[in-house]
């Protein structure tokens, strides 16, 4: 019967470092082989640990992969190659996009600023959508927020439900926004201390299937005091714009456990 616990941290760490099914315990630098040869209790512990490690090893790979992931990756790769097609080579385009994703969103915002009030094509990529919607958010006055209807008293059209990934806070208001992203949009305003903390914009259809299927826990765009993300859910487009940093953003996002669509 092995009742005395092993107290030597170096021995425990060496045991824990041995991969299940390997010869790691024979590695001289671990100094285990001599101990295991003379100590049946240590040997028994090693065997139990190896059995448990096999279980953890199998469990660690047991992760369901979302449907359509491969096509979304390829779509994103393709989209990353498109915007600068006429000006630069493929290689430098990708490098630019990867290393300056945040700047791309900012540049898109500035670009849109030159085209205020002018109708244009609906953007299909995250950066383009966020640029348009963040500008809308900044242009909206507090009056727009105050004119919205209380969700507790009046329901918006069923085609534009609140996202299941966004927290329900008291006194959410909703209102219609026309002309945004080329179609009717319902905006849900989330209040804090009497003013608007965030707005969730819902469009009836996503402009691109390549959008992610949940809001990420890190906002896709954080600039100008706003944190924002875009995703598709149940065949709709959702854009959340929050005043503040990631902490303010995360207060409105539920930790996810699976795709919504």
């Amino acid at each position: 019967m092995c009742s005395d616990p092993i107290r030597d941290e170096r021995v425990i760490e060496a045991l824990e470092a041995c991969r299940p099914g390997s010869d790691d315990s024979a590695l001289p630098e671990l100094g285990l082989s001599d101990l295991l040869a003379v100590d049946p209790c240590l040997r028994e512990l090693h065997e139990r640990l190896e059995l448990a490690d096999f279980q953890f090893q199998a469990a660690m790979s047991d992760v369901p992969v979302p449907e359509g992931l491969q096509s979304r990756i390829l779509a994103r790769l393709s989209a990353a190659n498109e915007p600068l097609a006429t000006t630069e080579g493929r290689r430098s385009r990708r490098r630019w996009l990867i290393s300056a994703g945040g700047l791309a969103a900012l540049a898109a915002s500035l670009f849109v600023a030159f085209w205020v009030g002018m109708p244009g094509p609906t953007p299909h990529d995250e950066a383009g959508i966020l640029a348009v919607v963040c500008r809308q958010f900044l242009q909206e006055a507090e009056a727009d927020f105050a004119q919205g209807r209380l969700l507790a008293e009046s329901q918006p059209p069923a085609r534009f439900p609140l996202s299941r990934a966004v927290a329900r806070v008291p006194d959410i208001r909703w209102r219609a926004v026309r002309g945004l992203l080329g179609e009717q949009v319902i905006a849900y305003d989330f209040p804090a201390a009497g003013s608007r903390q965030a707005t969730l914009y819902v469009a009836a259809a996503p402009s691109s299937e390549s959008l992610r299927t949940r809001p990420p826990m890190h906002p896709i765009q954080s600039t100008g005091g706003l944190s924002a993300s875009v995703w598709r859910e149940d065949g709709r487009l959702y854009v959340l714009v929050v005043r503040g940093d990631i902490r303010a953003y995360r207060r409105l996002i539920y930790a996810p456990s699976g795709p919504l669509t």
Partner: protein, 181 residues
């Protein structure tokens, strides 16, 4: 090798790794996409197709650390060695996937990465030290403590209560949805 083939061959493995590190479906998908964007840009650096997966994993780890670099480092002393949680041979061990992920999420990033590298990549402590560019002793210390923490949370009664408490704190939407395979 072209990027489409690389995606076809490895996107599932990369996604699973990303999910274990991030604990979130959208973050894992985003991380996976970032990995292949970088891979697409640096495809010329991949000399040996046989090492493609390891190469993608290395890109993934680098991105994961960039995302987590603002986290406050947790000293190893905050986690304890725990061999008491090793089950007896006759005990049947069933690992609940949701609880496993919650337990992984509770680990500091520096500990989570080594335990995922150990179980998922099945790397030796030397390979981990080399890949992470940290001393072997640090890897062994983190690995032992992280494994002990996982076992204590998944296989002990106290761990079950702790995780049940954290489940209860999570919004209802988390439990009402099924994961797609």
């Amino acid at each position: 090798m072209d990027i489409a083939q690389l995606v076809a061959d490895h996107h599932q493995a990369v996604y699973r790794y990303a999910y274990r590190l991030t604990g979130s479906v959208p973050d894992a998908e985003d991380l996976t996409q970032q990995v292949f964007l970088v891979a697409s840009d640096k495809l010329g650096h991949l000399r040996n197709e046989g090492s493609a997966r390891s190469w993608l994993y290395a890109i993934l780890r680098n991105h994961f650390f960039k995302l987590r670099q603002k986290e406050r480092p947790t000293p190893a002393a905050d986690l304890r060695l725990n061999i008491d949680s090793i089950p007896q041979k006759e005990d049947s061990v069933e690992i609940d996937q949701e609880r496993l992920q919650l337990a992984l999420d509770s680990l500091p990033a520096g500990f989570r990465i080594v335990v995922v590298m150990f179980y998922y990549e099945q790397l030796s402590y030397r390979e981990m030290a080399e890949a992470l560019d940290i001393p072997i002793g640090t890897v062994m210390s983190r690995l032992a403590r992280a494994k002990g923490q996982l076992r204590s949370q998944l296989l002990s009664k106290d761990g079950e209560e702790d995780i049940a408490g954290r489940r209860a704190e999570m919004p209802a939407v988390v439990h009402s949805e099924s994961r797609q395979g």
